[in-house]
Amino acid sequence: MSESASTAQALEVGKARYPEEKASLRSLLSPLLFMAPAIVLVVVFFFIPVVIVLVISLTDMSTATGFNNWKWVQFDNYLRIATHPNTLPVLRNTLMYVALTLALFNVGMALVIALLTTHIPRRSGFLFRALWLLPRLTPSVVYIMMWKYVAADAPYGILNQHLLGPLGIPPTNWLPAQPWIFVILTNGFIGASFGMVIFTSAIESIPRDYMVAALVDGCSLWQRIRYLILPLLRWPLLFVTTYQTLSLLTSFEQILLLTEGQFGTEVWSLWAYQRALSNYWGNFQWGFGAALAAVLVLIGVVMALVYMRYFQFNQLVQEPKIEAL
């Protein structure tokens, strides 16, 4: 086939690919019908809620005011956050929780498990990765119940009975005694699997040639990890770190089930949730809670845009190869 002929053909295909100019109403109808349920759900449960959070955060709405007697208070709720005595401790808790869980488990342990399971026979590696996926699939209430029993006081608790007892350490209920250790462990064992899966697929997609070259040069396992694997994992590492930072910042289900924020384990998202939707006193402060949530919404939007920008998500949005008939 001559070059000009193939160019002409390509042009024709190109024309067929982009029929937007002559798109008739009828041709638009069927994509619209296919998309309608998804569009409605996204609008009703993402867009409208974001607006609602921002609007309510400017009111004093609560169970005390009801849905009729509330009034606008401008930025009072935000000022209240700025001066609230809980703000600093909660902020410190949140930073500690995110930083430690991320470093020790969501990235650290995930990397260790990915490296270990890719250097043992394939079937064993698969088995261990499946086991590490288990906490994520276990109902959270059951999962937290297991940990509560691990920490329970003597003679019931597993930790006291089988590890610390024989070592001669006096038994106690470890959950109130060391709440942070358990908050980080419970979240960490769930969080590690995300990074583990991503790192594993990244390690396994490293070209065999590199590995052969490293082996021919006589690299030890440690040298291969340090000089071959880790540099190639730069992007997955960065992605998991930023993505999981956001997930940890806003997740509170495990903490809610484990301590309900007692023993000084209140974090920002749990604070917002308890203020607005669930507390012992039954006074739901929707306005104040929404302001607390709005801070997280803002962080979420910014972070999500950063992912779009830096992780080339745009490439994924490219036009379909064949779409017109």
Partner: protein, 299 residues
Amino acid sequence: MEDRLGMGGRWRVAILLLILTILTVPILIGYVWILISTFSQRTYGLIPVDASGQVGGLTLRNWSFLWEDPNIWKVTLNSLILAIGLTIGVVLVSSMAGYVLSRISFPGRRVFLGTTLVLHAFPSVTLLIAIFFVLRWISRIPILGRDLPIIGGFGYNTLGGVILVMLALQLPLGVWLMKGFFDHVSWDMERAALIDGCSRWRTWWQILLPQIRPGIAALAIFSFISGWNEFLIPYTYITDQQQSTIAAYLNKLLSDTAPVNYSQVAAVGLFQLIPVMLFFLFTQEYLLSIFAGGAKGGS
């Protein structure tokens, strides 16, 4: 068997396996405990004991809730409705949207794909407070709000409302996953069908959906397990005991003011865990692939 490049000698594999086993022990202990505890009067650590603290005391009494508490069957049924409703909804809505996004060029396509991608990364828990208001408004719609059979409607304090919220929150993942699977289906068969005068709907239903069965299976399993497990959303939006799910029921047992009978609670926990475990045993490969794919935004 040396099936990996640079795996090293037998001793090194043994050491790596040992390290992995030690790291994995904390995960296993919980499951071992739950299994032992459900069949014991009580446990000291992992050792079953009877009322006087002597080793022994194995019993089936912890499972008596199955025939003594009629509520358990009500909440189990509710959880099942939630899981099945969510699965059908997620698979249907995502495969419809995924098909169009993969195959047809239309104005707004890029915008929608970009938006769902941002939402994929967006932490939806932060919206729980606002969704509370949305559900209250939906409640006011006649019939649809709170008078439907089985799911009770789509408003606040109904199973249908919870299904709708969870469906929306899972949509970004589902749409991208389905689009990825559709992208990999060859276009020839579909084109033949369209040329023969098949409508878009029939093409989607009869030609394309059967092609992406593995993708649908993965998404369905994942949705079912999330629906069955979910605690936070039913707990937040359902206040009516009759509409409650098994996760909320279990949490109520745990947070009772009376001393908690851990063995009995463990039995309820195992009861909730069994379906997940069965799914897990038979579908790990699908699930590992969905986590790898979902994280990268499809395909």
